[in-house]
Symmetry: C2
Subunit: 240 residues, 2 copies
């Protein structure tokens, strides 16, 4: 049975302008792979309502699970929650359960729950909340879309909250052989081997470092025995 599929939507002008280097995609990719969920597509869009709504709809229809990152803070450019409501024809307002979480948090801190902070309690009516152990303001889930914060520490905590609730597949195993020869010498025999193992996937990732060059040959699959057999053949093809 094929693994469940996932897509990610990164929301934020700061990524597309080059101001900030996204860190969440790489983190999520590793976590999903370990859980046996295939991340099939990532999209990055700007803080533009039409672009966000269109991407949410497309990804929600095409993949089992969607995870978004960014745009749920207290400032005027945080428009993700409203866009999710629009994408699913849902209503949105400050919700009592989210407000209670924020109120308790800011009471403990002796900080006022002002209008801006209250914006973080705006949650679509059909959503279930996602726990935020770092800074309390919750993420949320509508249908198959999980909406998370963009700040990496908060994003990672929310991913940890949600992952156990997702149906995983068989974790993808991978083994790597580092070969210090040009990819052009490797490609022929490597391709022939790949054809003989249709149940595995074979990737070649060239490197050039410290005056050495070559490729990392990665074989991936879910069948331990098959993977071991392919790696034996691969090592025989390219002995050290």
């Amino acid at each position: 049975m094929p693994n469940p599929t996932a897509a990610m939507l990164v929301i934020g002008d700061e990524i597309l302008s080059g101001r900030t280097r996204d860190a969440n995609m790489h983190h999520l990719a590793g976590q999903l792979t370990e859980a046996g969920i295939d991340l099939k597509e990532v999209r990055v869009v700007s803080d533009d309502a039409d672009a966000i709504v269109a991407a949410v709809k497309a990804l929600s229809e095409n993949y089992d699970t969607v995870i978004t990152s960014g745009g749920i803070g207290p400032t005027h450019d945080d428009i993700t929650a409203d866009c999710i409501a629009r994408a699913f024809g849902d209503t949105i307002d400050v919700r009592d359960d989210a407000r209670a979480l924020l109120q308790a948090h800011y009471d403990r801190q002796g900080t006022e729950l002002n209008e801006a902070r209250l914006r973080m309690a705006r949650i679509p009516s059909t959503a279930t909340l996602i726990d935020n152990p770092v800074s309390v303001a919750p993420g949320f889930k509508v249908q198959n879309v999980h909406v998370m914060a963009g700040v990496p520490s908060v994003f990672q905590a929310m991913v940890a909250s949600v992952l156990p609730t997702l149906t995983g597949g068989q974790p993808l195993l991978s083994e790597t052989l580092r070969v210090e020869r040009g990819e052009g010498d490797i490609a022929g025999p490597f391709g022939v081997l790949a054809e003989r193992y249709p149940g595995l996937s074979f990737g070649s990732y060239p490197f050039q470092k410290d005056g050495k060059f070559g490729a990392n040959l990665v074989v991936r699959g879910q069948d331990t025995a098959l993977l071991a057999s392919a790696m034996d053949e691969l090592k025989a093809l390219f002995p050290e």
Copy 2:
């Protein structure tokens, strides 16, 4: 007049599996911003022909310029060139101009131009070549889609080759004010200021580092005087 728009398509299982952390998106985003070209969307897809073709078509129709990264090496999983030909109904085969570049390069090295290496001369018939000063195997352009290598040093060299040929806009200027207060205290007055300057864009990017927290407030626009005036007001709102 609005700036020209661009999109990027990153192709590669290794990014989506978390094996490799993409570096090209951040580089391209910075370069395009400097050139006054608005990067509006990035997609990352796996080494899957249907997914690549669909993404190329969608991005090519929606944006002025598309730049792809990855999948043009000599191995069996390098399928980008064939997908581009399919997306544009073009034919593809080993092309004499690309073969000549590779032949000269490998002759100099005393390396055989074998079948695998020759794969890098497979170029769609209507394409123009993109110079690769790092490792010779060319990128190419079909219509508004620029196809580049995924290896960061080669990608960066190809971006440098292509950028002067693109129609730029007015570079986006940006100024940042670092404010060590909670975003919830900043958001109200910051949002009011943003509304008074519809010609500029205002973003708030929270940070938490070395025990301090706050937000970097970024104002972006193309009008120097307007930007200076907004920054003066912003500094008055949040004095050090």
